[in-house]
């Protein structure tokens, strides 16, 4: 889904471009240590577990669990109109890797810490923001 109005967007660099553009192919990706398979996020050029500098970009399933959530009611930026839902999600492959993201297609009363989510992407300019929606299709609403 491509949106017309603007958002504040990340500056793409050689370090983060793979992450913010992975959604073009509909896949969530993280930096992975080539030696110990640790996922490294946010991306930095050395593995925090084994200090290896050998790294690769890895696809993950896009499945995640909601571990913290807030419904924001205050307007902070004119281009993003409240209310909207911000959550912290744990990635299925490595729960200590988390993303702050938007929870979309979910009624506020159905939001629950522990709920299963799956990735979706919102496209703005050259950036694909990973957002998350209920993994259970029965819980999904139409609108974002």
């Amino acid at each position: 889904m491509s949106k017309q109005f603007k958002r504040p967007l990340p500056q793409l660099t050689d370090r983060n471009r793979f992450f913010w553009t992975a959604g073009e192919e509909g896949t969530l990706r993280f930096l992975r240590c080539s030696d110990c398979a640790n996922l490294i996020h946010p991306p930095v050029p050395v593995c925090d577990k084994c200090l290896s500098r050998q790294q690769e970009v890895a696809d993950v399933s896009g499945r995640a669990t909601l571990v913290a959530v807030t419904v924001n009611e205050q307007m902070w930026m004119p281009m993003i109109e409240p209310p909207y839902v911000i959550g912290i999600v744990e990635i299925e492959e490595q729960p200590d890797v988390r993303l702050t993201t938007n929870i979309v297609q979910c009624a506020h009363e159905d939001l629950a810490i522990g709920m299963a989510l799956e990735v979706a992407f919102e496209h703005y300019e050259d950036v694909y923001l990973p957002v998350f929606r209920p993994a259970d299709p029965a819980l999904r609403t139409e609108a974002g």
């Binding site: 990340p10 571990v67 911000i86």
Partner: protein
């Protein structure tokens, strides 16, 4: 154990006018507080040989930094042996710890510390088009790139999420959280400079406009214009100070033992709290029962709650029960908390207000709000961003 904390003391306190949209030059506020502190110590500017502040020159929104160390050195023509500022230290009070280090190592004898915010006026100038913030239009980098694109633009969002996790994990109720705000407002009624003094009921608290669930308006502190300053002197100089007595340092908590991050670390508590709290108790024989008052960072209600728990005033997950009814943290309770109203009601003096109020109480200069228990010890913490930092201070 011989500690560097023993070598220095607060000898002077200063505070500018505090308010919403004072429309004053922030350097003017800063110099008011600094000159106030120097005079309070019984010194002149010629005695000041060091300057330390937080955060100094910043790249982001200028409202959070009203003056730099350079600004003050130049405006007052100070001749200093050492000066320092920065955002990357153990919270706002890290700048006081730096001053203590400079004194303990012999670089300085009297260090002027200050913290100035002018967010209320800055926001008004921006709103009315009188100044235009040059930043903010470009792409995001650093920590912000992971949050701002999602509209997670405010610390209220980031901290609300930790609070949601805590509520889910430990069963904290909104009413228990609200005791932090109600306690602050009760205390603010007795504080001449506090911004919000009108009585607040639990219904007022619970029915306030929602900012970011579970936070309503009264879970969030008050952006304001304020400058607070201290003179940190060598402990040998205390007897020659205006009062002939000062506030000593029993222990510092400056450690950071976790991810500097709003989502990657332990979600049971806010980042920057645990390492600092653990370190504080490792540097003193005093224990919780010895602490007479707590002045704990309350940029949001949940900040103070987190400090209470991680400092060990209750067990893990038990702070809701500790806060139940609000009696333990009240002025006449076992641990009087934020006796000037805290940032939630007195205003966002951004960390420095807590040390100021600790000193006022320990000096017995609280006037109408002076605690009746003749406090001799206080813990005061900083925070807001990551990391935090905490001090244990004592009457000398």
């Amino acid at each position: 154990m011989e500690k560097f904390e023993d070598k220095s003391a607060v000898t002077g306190l200063g505070m500018s006018d505090i308010g919403r949209r004072l429309m004053r030059d922030p350097l003017g506020l800063t110099l008011d507080a600094c000159l106030d502190a120097i005079e309070d110590a019984g010194l002149t500017r010629a005695d000041i040989d060091g300057v330390s502040t937080y955060p100094g020159v910043v790249g982001g929104a200028p409202g959070i930094s009203g003056a730099s160390a350079w600004d003050v050195c130049d405006a007052l023509r100070l001749d200093v042996n050492w000066f320092n500022s920065g955002l990357e230290q153990s919270g706002q009070l890290g700048s006081v710890v730096n001053a203590m280090l400079a004194v303990a190592t012999g670089l300085c004898r009297h260090v002027l510390c200050f913290r100035t915010v002018w967010e209320a006026t800055y926001t008004e100038l921006q709103r009315s088009g009188q100044i235009r913030y040059s930043g903010g239009a470009g792409r995001l980098s650093g920590g912000m790139e992971w949050r701002i694109p999602y509209g997670a633009a405010s610390a209220s969002n980031w901290i609300a999420m930790y609070c949601s996790h805590y509520m889910h994990r430990y069963g904290l109720t909104k009413e228990q959280l609200g005791q932090i705000a109600l306690n602050g407002r009760r205390n603010a009624a007795l504080t001449p400079y506090a911004i919000y003094k009108d009585p607040m009921t639990m219904d007022d608290y619970l029915n306030a406009r929602v900012i970011s669930t579970p936070f309503g308006l009264y879970d969030c502190d008050v952006p304001c214009d304020a400058s607070v300053a201290f003179v940190i002197s060598h402990v040998d100089a205390v007897k020659d100070s205006r009062r002939g007595r000062g506030i000593g340092f029993e222990a510092v908590g400056t450690a950071n033992t976790e991810r500097v991050s709003w989502d990657q670390g332990d979600l049971r508590y806010l980042p920057g709290v645990k390492g600092a709290a653990d370190m504080l108790w490792s540097r003193t024989d005093l224990r919780h029962k010895d602490i007479d008052t707590a002045q704990l960072y309350d940029g949001f209600s949940f900040n103070a709650l987190c400090w209470l728990e991680r400092l060990g005033f209750c067990g893990e997950g038990e702070v809701g029960a500790f806060l139940e009814g609000g009696t333990r943290i009240a002025r006449d309770g076992e641990l009087p908390l934020n006796t000037n109203g805290g940032q939630l009601s007195a205003g966002r003096m951004h960390g420095y207000g807590f040390l100021h109020e600790a000193c006022v109480q320990l000096l017995g200069e609280g006037g109408e709000r002076q605690l009746p228990n003749e406090p001799r010890t206080a813990v005061c913490s900083a925070g807001g961003g990551v990391p935090g930092g905490v001090l244990l201070v004592k009457a000398l």
